[in-house]
């Protein structure tokens, strides 16, 4: 029998965005992006669940010290917290600040810093929508 352990830590940040295509009229954007294209923007409380799986370190009894995870995740989240993403964050001037792209950005920023640990990220934009990003080798994910 194989032992499986996952530690999940949830982080929150609040950000505003507007989804739109620059060359399109407000009407065209409204047709594609609906309420998300309000020209003045709108915001969400995002929750990022960062899940790490691996083995318990026998010395510390931990898989990863949550403090160490905070040191990696907090600054990345901090750059998005209380920002208008498509205006104030360079990446989202290039890519639509959709939940999918925000999660891809977070994955790209965090993946390299977490070494060879298996990670699984989940971003909730509202209580009824969330997005997931993980490596195929980590699939099917049983948690």
């Amino acid at each position: 029998m194989r032992e499986v352990i996952c530690v999940t830590k949830r982080y929150r940040f609040s950000a505003a965005h507007r989804l739109y295509v620059k060359g399109f009229s407000d009407e065209e954007n409204a047709r594609i992006f609906d309420a998300c294209s309000n020209p003045n923007g709108h915001g969400h409380d995002y929750y990022l669940e960062c899940r790490i799986s691996g083995d318990i370190n026998p010395e510390t009894g931990m898989l990863m010290n949550p403090e160490e995870l905070d040191r990696i995740v907090d600054p990345v989240i901090g750059e998005l917290d209380n920002k208008r993403l498509d205006v104030e964050v360079a990446y989202f001037r290039e890519y639509q600040p959709t939940g999918e792209n925000i999660l891809r950005y977070l994955w790209e920023r965090l993946r390299g810093q977490l070494g060879d640990r298996q990670i699984h990220l989940r971003l909730s934009e509202t209580s009824s929508s969330y997005f997931e990003y993980f490596e195929e080798s980590n699939y099917p994910y049983e948690c």
Binding site: M1, R2, E3, V4, I5, C6, V7, T8, K9, R10, Y11, I56, E59, T60, G61, M62, L63, N65, P66, E67, E68, E142, C143
Partner: protein, 140 residues
């Protein structure tokens, strides 16, 4: 295609634990456990989710009687609730009660308690230390 049927029951308990190995000096403890290092400990309101897997009984319509599972969880948690896990629970005499290890110990206890049950088997233990930090433990 085979289907899986799961049932989860949740229960809260409050306990303290300390991240401190007495055989290490203060510097090493602080180095390994960071801000959590203290011989005195700190506490949490834990939330335990026990997930079992089994077939739905044709007569009762249940995988397991939730009342029986609740009674079992209450019995098991007597040794955890309002306890200092390092000092009051012999299972943590030599094992640091990190959330990972508490989840592992709870898996072992519930697996044993449910082993002769005939109805369902333990599928997963999920243990929330805080609403923002939890551990999943299972064996497959």
């Amino acid at each position: 295609m085979a289907s899986r049927k799961l049932l989860t029951k949740k229960m809260e308990f409050s306990a303290s634990h300390s991240y401190w190995r007495p055989e290490w000096n203060e510097e090493r403890n602080k180095d390994m456990f960071g801000k959590f290092a203290s011989p005195h400990g700190h506490g949490h309101n834990y939330s335990l989710e026990v997930t079992v897997e089994g077939e739905i009984d044709t007569e009762t319509g249940m995988i397991v009687n939730l009342y029986d599972l609740k009674t079992l969880m209450k019995e098991v948690l007597i040794d955890f609730d309002h306890k200092h896990l390092n000092k009051d629970n012999p299972r943590f005499e030599k094992l640091i009660p990190t959330t990972e290890n508490v989840a592992k110990v709870l898996w072992e206890i519930f697996q044993e308690k449910l082993s002769d049950n005939g109805q369902c088997s333990l599928y997963r233990i999920r243990l929330y230390e805080t609403p923002d930090l939890y551990v999943d433990y299972w064996r497959s």
